[in-house]
Symmetry: C2
Subunit: 194 residues, 2 copies
C-alpha cells in the first residue's frame, strides 16, 4: 500500500478509536491492528503519539468543516435553515455512534487541561467554526432572516457551546431530547422569532 | 480520627483529584496520601473504587444543590436573578479551579459511555437539577417575570446543557467569554425580554 494511503488508513482507524475512547486511552498497537498495518511501523508515519493525535484532530476538523460547507452550499434555502441542517447532520452522526458525543468536544474535555498543544489546536478549530457561523449569520441578518438585535458573533459562540452541551447531555440520556430542545429554543425562539 | 471523619476526608480529597483528572486516572493511593490516611485502609471505608467514585459524585451533587438552594433562598430578588446567581457562583468556582469545568459534566463526558452505573447516577442528578430549575421557572412565570411563551422544563434543559457547554468551551479559551455570552443571550434575550 502506498505510504499516503497507509497513513490515511491509520488516521481514520485512529479517529474511530479516539471518538469512542479519547486520546490517552487509545493504544498505538490497537490502531495498527485495526488498520492491519505491521507493528513497529507507526513511527515511520508519525513522529510521536501526540503528532498522531493532532493529525486525527485535523481529520475531525476537516470532516466537520466539510459538513458545514456542504450544508451551506445547498441552494434555495434560507441561511438559518442551512445552519440548522449542519447541526442536525453532526448530531445524527453522534447518535449513529451510540451517543458518543462530538469527538472534538470530547477531546476538549479530556485534553484541555492536560496538553497545551492540544488545547490550542482545539481552541483554534472551535474559534474558526464560530467565525464561519458568524459570517453566515451576518448574511442571514442582511437578508432579513433573523432579528436585527441578534449579534452574529455572540450567537455563533452560543450555538457552538450550547450544541456541545446538548451532545454532552445526550451521552447520559441516550436520546435526542437535549438536542431537540436546543434546536427548538435557539433556532425558533432566538433566531426565527419575529 | 473517627471513622466518619476519615471517610469524609477521603471523599473531599477524592473530589479535588477527580475534578482535575476524572475518575479513571484518579489513583486510590494518591487519595489516601492526600488525606494522610494509612495505605491499605481504603477498603475499610469503601467496597470498591467504583463505590468511592459514586460517593464522590454524591458529594459533588450535594454541593451543587446546596449552592442552588442558598441562591434561591435569598429574599427580595426576582426568581430569575436567583437562578442567574446560581450559575454565576458555580462558574466562578470552575474559574477558581483553573477552568477545570464542571466536575459532573467532566464525569459525564468520561464515564457516560464507559460505566452504566455512573451514567444512570449522573443522569439522575442532571434530571433533578432540570426539574428543580423548571419549578423555579414556573414560579418566575407565575410572578410575571418571564414571557408567557417560555416553556419551564424545556428552558431548564436548555439552561443546564448550554451552561455545561460554556464550561467545556472555557476549558479551551481559559477565559469567561463563553459563560458571559451564555448568560447575556439566555437570560437577557430569552428569559428577560419583554
Amino acid at each position: 500500500m502506498p505510504k499516503q494511503q497507509t497513513k490515511g488508513l491509520l488516521l481514520s482507524k485512529g479517529a474511530e478509536i479516539m471518538h469512542r475512547r479519547g486520546f490517552q486511552d487509545a493504544g498505538i498497537q490497537e490502531v495498527l491492528e485495526a488498520a492491519s498495518v505491521p507493528k513497529g511501523s507507526f513511527y515511520y508515519y508519525f513522529s510521536s503519539k501526540e503528532d498522531f493525535g493532532l493529525q486525527v484532530i485535523d481529520l475531525f476538523a476537516e470532516v466537520m468543516f466539510q459538513t458545514l460547507h456542504s450544508n451551506m452550499d445547498v441552494a434555495s434555502q434560507p441561511v438559518v435553515e442551512k445552519i440548522r441542517g449542519f447541526f442536525r447532520e453532526m448530531t445524527d452522526r453522534a447518535v449513529e455512534n451510540g451517543y458518543a458525543g462530538c469527538p472534538l468536544g470530547n477531546l476538549s474535555q479530556e485534553m484541555g487541561d492536560v496538553n497545551e498543544v492540544f488545547r490550542q489546536k482545539l481552541n483554534e478549530i472551535f474559534s474558526r467554526l464560530e467565525q464561519e457561523l458568524a459570517r453566515y449569520l451576518r448574511e442571514a441578518k442582511a437578508a432579513g432572516e433573523i432579528p436585527d438585535q441578534v449579534h452574529p458573533m455572540q450567537m455563533a459562540v452560543l450555538l457552538v457551546s450550547s450544541w456541545e452541551g446538548a451532545l454532552l447531555r445526550m451521552k447520559l440520556t441516550k436520546d435526542t431530547v437535549p438536542f431537540d430542545i436546543f434546536e427548538r429554543t435557539v433556532f425558533n425562539d432566538l433566531l426565527m422569532r419575529t
